[in-house]
Symmetry: C2
Subunit: 260 residues, 2 copies
DNA sequence: TAGTGGTCTAGACCACTAG
DNA sequence: TAGTGGTCTAGACCACTAT
């Protein structure tokens, strides 16, 4: 066969084609950004129908290796620059220092990126179950919600919804669009609830259709379901953030002592 | 139209069908494990070809919402039980206590799961770049590698490759198949390199074909690329573990104080 | 306009499962 | 055996991009 395939290989043709292409990508024969053969070329080369050639490329798209552009072609996906989220991003001096900034803003700047954000919603809402559990209140209790989308260098990378007990947010800039220098951490601190401990819980999953659209995710890109709880000096949970984070532009680093 | 679709909806039919099905899953009309309509049913209902019905279900598979079983049907995917990895799993008393166990073993037992593992490889190997950087040695320097696959309740959930500087592993049970009670943490401790700090770095991505096969991952399941560095009492890195973790059975929890 | 990927049809035949 | 999903063919036509 012209492809050099072992004819005893019983795998479906579309899988063999995908593996051949994947090998070329991994060896660098097809470098980042390089154009793949067109569907027509693949169909000719492998003596198959267009549908099969398409399916082969689809398999690679689902692995996040390839992107397709209508009218242009299929291309080896380029690795996105990642923001690294470290424990250090929460350090007091970032939000309580000489020139206090938001957590994300300071971190992005440190890594040469630009963070922006829009407010998607602001108001009283019944606490979702995940929030209620962590705030120690009944599901459906009214809480203050602050929903926003954050962007890195113009690309959306996070759908972040923060929830505060009403008694804590009441009368503070947490209820405003702009929370001011130091962001929510500084405002909680001023309100007598100094952020003292952080709990982060997460797992990875594939995005739903609407999430893919909202985060403008390429094919084959997972998201992180992320829950952050801020705990104050008396051990009280004062904010729960539910966040969906674009998986291709985000990495995390934790460093901590071995517990006893 | 029989489906109640707005005829001005310009989205492709396959997408509308997928969204209809997704809505039924999210509202619970199609509960976990419930069978979806067959491709034939869908094609009849939406007056489309089988290929389009198939594509609609494919979209949901890629989101991890649906699994298909040849000869049986398509089903709403059931949420897998997750192991929660917390900072506490590294606690000294787990590997240095009365009845020392492996980190993973102790954690699984606590959560009512059963952890097993096989050794995939054991021997001297040139250090990969990711390892060399973190051990502070030149890429390609010989190190001791210990590659294993871990299982939870019989399902593979992690491809974990640990690398040790030769001088540290030499003459210790780290070179054996069985590292004994307390695992590698206890052996490092005995060798004068007490695990003192942990650094964990990770991001999410889609698995390659071989990884999907090795971890027996359903469609639409991401993996976590996970790098763990163990640092001893003098600040020296003594082990780097490169791991690929099944995303659908793993969640993480970190809790830590806000740094100054 | 030519060339690319995207959607869709109308089939054929194979592989697997349950009864 | 009947019914399901999986692979594949051989087209048609649309949407988008570059020139």
């Amino acid at each position: 066969m012209s492809t050099g395939q072992d004819y005893t290989d019983a795998r479906p043709l579309q899988v063999r084609m995908a593996d051949d292409l994947r090998r070329k990508i991994e060896t660098g024969e097809l470098g980042q950004g390089a154009q793949l053969p067109t569907y027509d070329d693949l169909a000719r080369e492998y003596l198959c129908s267009l549908a099969v050639a398409r399916k082969a490329v689809d398999l690679l798209r689902q692995q996040g290796l390839v992107i397709t552009k209508q009218g242009l072609g299929s291309f080896v996906r380029e690795r996105s620059a990642m923001v690294r989220h470290g424990v250090e991003r929460y350090a007091r001096h970032h939000w309580k220092g000489i020139e206090p900034a938001t957590i994300l803003g300071a971190e992005a700047t440190n890594q040469g990126r630009k963070a922006t954000r829009i407010i998607r919603g602001l108001g009283v809402t019944p606490a979702p179950a995940l929030v209620a559990e962590r705030l120690g209140i009944a599901e459906g209790t009214d809480v203050w919600a602050r929903k926003r989308t954050t962007f890195l260098d113009g690309r959306p990378n996070q759908l972040a919804d923060s929830y505060y007990p009403l008694a804590i947010a009441q009368g503070t800039p947490l209820m405003e669009e702009e929370t001011g220098p130091g962001g929510d951490f500084a405002r909680l601190d001023e309100a007598g609830h100094s952020p003292t401990r952080i709990r982060e819980e997460w797992h990875a999953r594939m995005p739903s259709g609407p999430e893919r659209a909202a985060l403008r995710l390429p094919d084959g890109t997972p998201v992180i379901d992320f829950i952050r709880t801020i705990i104050d000096q008396s051990g009280e949970p004062v904010e729960v953030m539910l966040s969906v984070i674009a998986g291709d532009t985000t990495s995390f680093i934790y460093e901590f002592p071995v517990p006893d």
